[in-house]
């Protein structure tokens, strides 16, 4: 299974995803600049955190127009794993690969801390290694992480089991229904504000994010 880590101008957590997959999980992974237009040869695509295009206009709003986006949409349509964390999540909503939008945190401030999450749905290719209802701790680092959707959409994603992670103690940004991460209807596109790739090494004090990457890799093995 080969992963693509997309580098948009202004991405800065690209190395975090790359190292989590390459060095920690031993997976096959390569950077792909957003100026490229093909993802041929890749089986999964990862959209990193950061400030693509400086968050100018709106977080993720310019990145969705980059050359690589049609290829990412194709991957999503083909049912391959598409994952976005933080700015990656924002880009996925801007590109309409995920419903809803990410608004400014209700504190109006950037916040970097570790928060507790509940794994609401473990029946996805991203979370199969977790227990349903399990509490995990993951870092967040964002200014625009308050998930919002109109009531009808919100109801739909709740009913479909698309909510994968919820803030379970403190909601750090004011998201609706304490939502921290959601999938698309089909379940192969996951966007989340927390950073699992920052929690994969005991040296850095937290390994709760590791099983997310293991889940994707397990899924690939089962399929193969």
């Amino acid at each position: 299974m080969k992963f693509a880590v997309i580098q948009f101008p202004g991405s800065n957590c690209d190395i975090d995803l790359y190292e989590a997959l390459h060095t920690v999980c031993g997976a096959d992974v390569a950077y792909v600049p957003s100026k490229e237009s093909s993802l041929d040869g890749f089986d999964a695509v990862m959209l990193p955190g950061g400030f693509s295009y400086g968050d100018y206009l709106r977080a993720g709003a310019i990145a969705r127009f980059t050359n690589i986006m049609p290829a990412i949409v194709e991957m999503a349509k083909a049912g391959k794993p598409v994952f976005g964390t933080c700015n990656g999540f924002q880009i996925l909503t801007e590109a309409s690969l995920l419903p809803g939008a990410l608004k400014r945190n209700d504190s109006l401030k950037f916040v970097c801390k570790t928060v507790e999450l509940e794994v609401v749905n473990n029946d996805t290719i991203f979370t199969s290694e977790y227990q349903k209802g399990e509490k995990i701790n993951l870092p967040i680092a964002h200014a625009d992480g308050s998930f919002y959707a109109d009531l009808e959409t919100l109801q739909k994603i709740e009913d479909n089991g698309q909510v994968v992670f919820r803030y379970s103690k403190e909601n750090p940004n004011g998201s609706l229904n304490n939502i921290a991460g959601i999938t698309n209807e089909r379940g192969n596109v996951l966007g989340m504000m927390p950073h699992p790739e920052r929690a994969v090494e005991a040296l850095l004090g937290n390994t709760d994010g590791l099983r997310l990457f293991k889940s994707i890799l397990d899924h690939a093995e089962v399929k193969a």
């Binding site: 101008p9 202004g10 800065n12």
Partner: protein
């Protein structure tokens, strides 16, 4: 467009006086350097390059006192940043910079561009910046303007660093009324470098290209360097135009493009330098001067975002996110291709020439033709008068202040709520401290620690300034600042390597201020010599005063250390109940300038006790050896608030308390004798630890329970950890919410 003055009009009307060039300097330039009158553009270039900010003409004689060499030092002061060997072909690269004046006027942009500027200094060396630290000193929070300044400053630091994706892993924030009109904002950047990729700010080789890369030039920040070399008066609000505006997204692109060039194609490159203070003129003339070359630039080729800019404006603009390269002839297009990929301008604006002159053309005319060295090396050093501050003489004649503590528990809690002591988390959590996943220890501990990828080593870093002590006694205070930084580094289990500094002082034309500068540098230099931590880079910020009132002399010491094996990294929190507690270092009656003195009396006064640097170094080495042997569970440096505050902070991490019984008095619990540590040691190593630190460590109790049970010589107290932590955590959010 305004008509520029003729050389004769300049001589007569002396506009240069407003640009900080003195009449004596102007005459010297005319008579000794040029043998003619300089034109308008040339006069502007001289005034910027001869400012203290660029030339260090006031501080140079004093800066020569610093030790700058050592076996690990690959690059000392004079380049973009200092470079220190950490083995395995790698080096750590670091420098600090002050942005006090811009921050006082426009705090968000002042702080943001302070961070942006210091990052460019580090990546101009070919290093990737991996961490940022800050050192902030502000007025008291009972003032709404100060709260606004602080909020905006913190937002600016975070706004720039978060977007760049460089973690902010440490720093300091203290409060005192003396900084009300003139806050101190210092930023330090630390980078990592493969030694083979190291670059210099150098331009040479006739016919080689001078290339401008990065953002376009506008009218922002013109005369920022001279602005920083002036004092504030109440009118300073009108100087907003001298503050630059930052674009971290542009800088992120510039960083990646420059690193691609320096790491993969260094053979195309002769040198590279940041366009910082005094923009194009300083970078180009310094690079030519370093290469002993002549240079000719065509200003019509400079990418500009405003029309009708004069030569003077183009040369002195301090627009951000720009770099100057000297590229080998024939590789101009290759370099351009790299920058094209990042959608950045990369333009040949001139060439290296055979002579030694600095020639500028604009609209087809020569607007400047002067010797390169007249801008860089011929600057007149300014002798300064100095005089010991009267307050020192007065203080020495008075009896030392002795604290009286009648209610230990009350004083303890009051101490934890002091803004300088209280938790800074409400600010530090607005910084991304984890991005790029190498942060092992983030903000809030003695030092920030990053792992070095591909090795099992770490680098520890800290910033320390203590204006109060340096005000009371510049030389002893200077020593204390270095000892404090070294103690922070050692508390993490790291070996101190070297320092950078920011010398924040008042108006050096005041003899008492110059004395403070001179003597604090003497103290810093002495401590650096003994502790074997040379000065590898730094910056000077003078004229920090408002309406003739100087800030405390506030040198900031930024130190970097090496953790040889991250398995032996030591944290500041108690790890387990039942460990033995040791106090390392002697405790004396060090209350002058202490947080306790300020809290109880509202002011600081007194004389400082000198310190035995050789002795401190000796036991710190033995302590480090114990840490590297894995015998130490936790270690916390003792600083503001003394043992009291360290005990509390060490208990907060895991909610583990302590039982302390020793013959210190309650006052001594708050004494700030430098060079001390609170160390917890698992009982199986306790005997070995005690033997190794014999004479310099005393066992004071054990980690236990969930409260601090203190039995001192004169008083006892039982303080629940949870209650103390709440006081410590809530103090700043509460003060910042004030509606006054």
């Amino acid at each position: 467009m305004m008509q520029e003055m003729t050389p004769e009009e300049i001589k007569e009307k002396k506009p240069y006086l407003d640009w900080s060039l003195s009449e004596e300097e102007y005459d010297y330039i005319c008579d000794k350097l040029l043998h003619r009158l300089p034109n308008y553009t040339e006069t502007g270039l001289f005034s910027a390059m001869w400012s203290e900010h660029c030339s260090y003409k006031k501080s140079k004689p004093v800066l020569r006192l610093f030790p700058t060499k050592g076996p690990r030092i690959l690059q000392g002061p004079g380049e973009g940043a200092g470079v220190v060997d950490i083995g395995d072909g790698q080096a750590v690269v670091f420098k600090a910079e002050s942005h006090n004046h811009p921050t006082a006027v426009e705090p968000y942009q002042g702080a943001a561009t302070g961070v942006g500027g210091i990052l460019r200094d580090v990546f101009s060396m070919g290093a990737r910046p991996v961490a940022t630290l800050d050192s902030l000193h502000f007025g008291e929070l009972d003032d709404a303007h100060t709260r606004w300044l602080l909020n905006e400053t913190v937002a600016g630091i975070g706004g720039y660093g978060n977007c760049m994706g460089i973690p902010t892993v440490g720093g300091e924030l203290t409060f005192d009324d003396i900084y009300k009109g003139n806050p101190v904002m210092n930023a330090m950047s630390v980078g990592l470098l493969d030694v083979k990729d190291m670059q210099k700010g150098l331009a040479q080789g006739e016919g080689n290209a001078v290339m401008y890369v990065g953002a376009k030039t506008g009218r922002d920040g013109i005369h920022g360097a001279t602005f920083a070399s002036h004092s504030f008066d109440s009118e300073h609000e009108s100087q907003r135009s001298a503050v630059q505006v930052g674009d971290p997204f542009m800088e992120k692109l510039l960083l990646e493009a420059c690193l691609e060039l320096t790491q993969k194609h260094a053979d195309w490159l002769v040198g590279i330098q940041d366009m910082g203070a005094a923009g194009i003129v300083s970078s180009s003339s310094e690079m030519a001067s370093e290469g002993k070359s002549g240079m000719e630039l065509n200003l019509d080729l400079v990418p500009q975002r405003e029309s009708g800019m004069s030569a003077y404006e183009i040369m002195l603009s301090e627009s951000q996110e720009r770099m100057l390269l000297c590229v080998k002839k024939g590789h101009e297009e290759d370099v351009k291709k790299i920058f094209d990929f990042y959608d950045l301008d990369a333009v040949v604006i001139g060439r290296i020439t055979s002579g030694h002159n600095y020639v500028l053309r604009h609209h087809g005319e020569v607007v400047c033709d002067i010797p390169v060295t007249s801008l860089t090396e011929d600057v007149l050093e300014e002798p300064s008068e100095e005089k010991q501050p009267q307050h020192m003489i007065d203080d020495a004649a008075k009896p030392a202040w002795e604290p009286e503590i009648t209610d230990l528990a009350k004083t303890y809690k009051q101490m934890l709520a002091q803004p300088t002591i209280a938790s800074k988390e409400m600010f530090t959590q607005t910084y991304d401290s984890m991005v790029r996943t190498s942060t092992v220890v983030g903000p809030g501990e003695d030092s920030g620690v990053l792992r070095v990828r591909g090795t099992h080593k770490g680098i520890a870093m800290t910033t320390d300034g203590n204006g109060r002590f340096i005000y009371l006694d510049p030389e002893i205070g200077g020593k204390r600042a270095v000892v404090e930084a070294a103690s922070n580094i050692i508390a993490s289990g790291a070996e101190p390597l070297a320092i950078t500094d920011c010398l924040n002082f008042g108006n050096p034309n005041e003899p008492e201020v110059f004395w403070e500068l001179h003597h604090s540098v003497m103290g810093i230099a002495k401590a650096c010599e003994v502790l074997e931590t040379p000065v590898v880079s730094g910056n000077v910020s003078l004229y920090n005063e408002t309406d003739d009132k100087s800030i405390y002399p506030t040198p900031m010491v930024g130190m970097v250390g090496l953790v040889k094996n991250l398995d032996h990294l030591v944290r500041d929190s108690f790890q387990e109940a039942g460990d033995d507690l040791y106090l390392v270092g002697q405790t004396g009656a060090d209350y002058a300038g202490s947080e306790l003195q300020k809290m109880l009396t509202g002011e600081i006064s007194g004389s400082l006790n000198d310190l035995d640097l050789d002795h401190i170094k000796d036991y710190q080495k033995r302590l480090l050896a114990q840490m590297e042997a894995g015998h130490v569970a936790s270690a916390h440096d003792l600083s503001e608030g003394g043992l009291a505050v360290s005990l509390a902070e060490s208990s907060f991490g895991h909610g583990i308390g302590a039982e302390v019984a020793c013959d210190l008095t309650s006052a001594e619990l708050f004494s700030e004798t430098p060079g001390r540590f609170l160390v917890s040691v698992p009982s199986e190593y306790s005997a070995e630890f005690a033997a190794a630190l014999a004479g310099d460590a005393v066992k004071i109790g054990q980690t236990a329970g969930d409260s601090l049970k203190l039995t001192l010589q004169d008083q006892a107290a039982d303080l629940p950890v949870a209650e103390l932590k709440q006081i410590w955590e809530e103090a700043l959010p509460c003060l910042m919410k004030s509606k006054d």
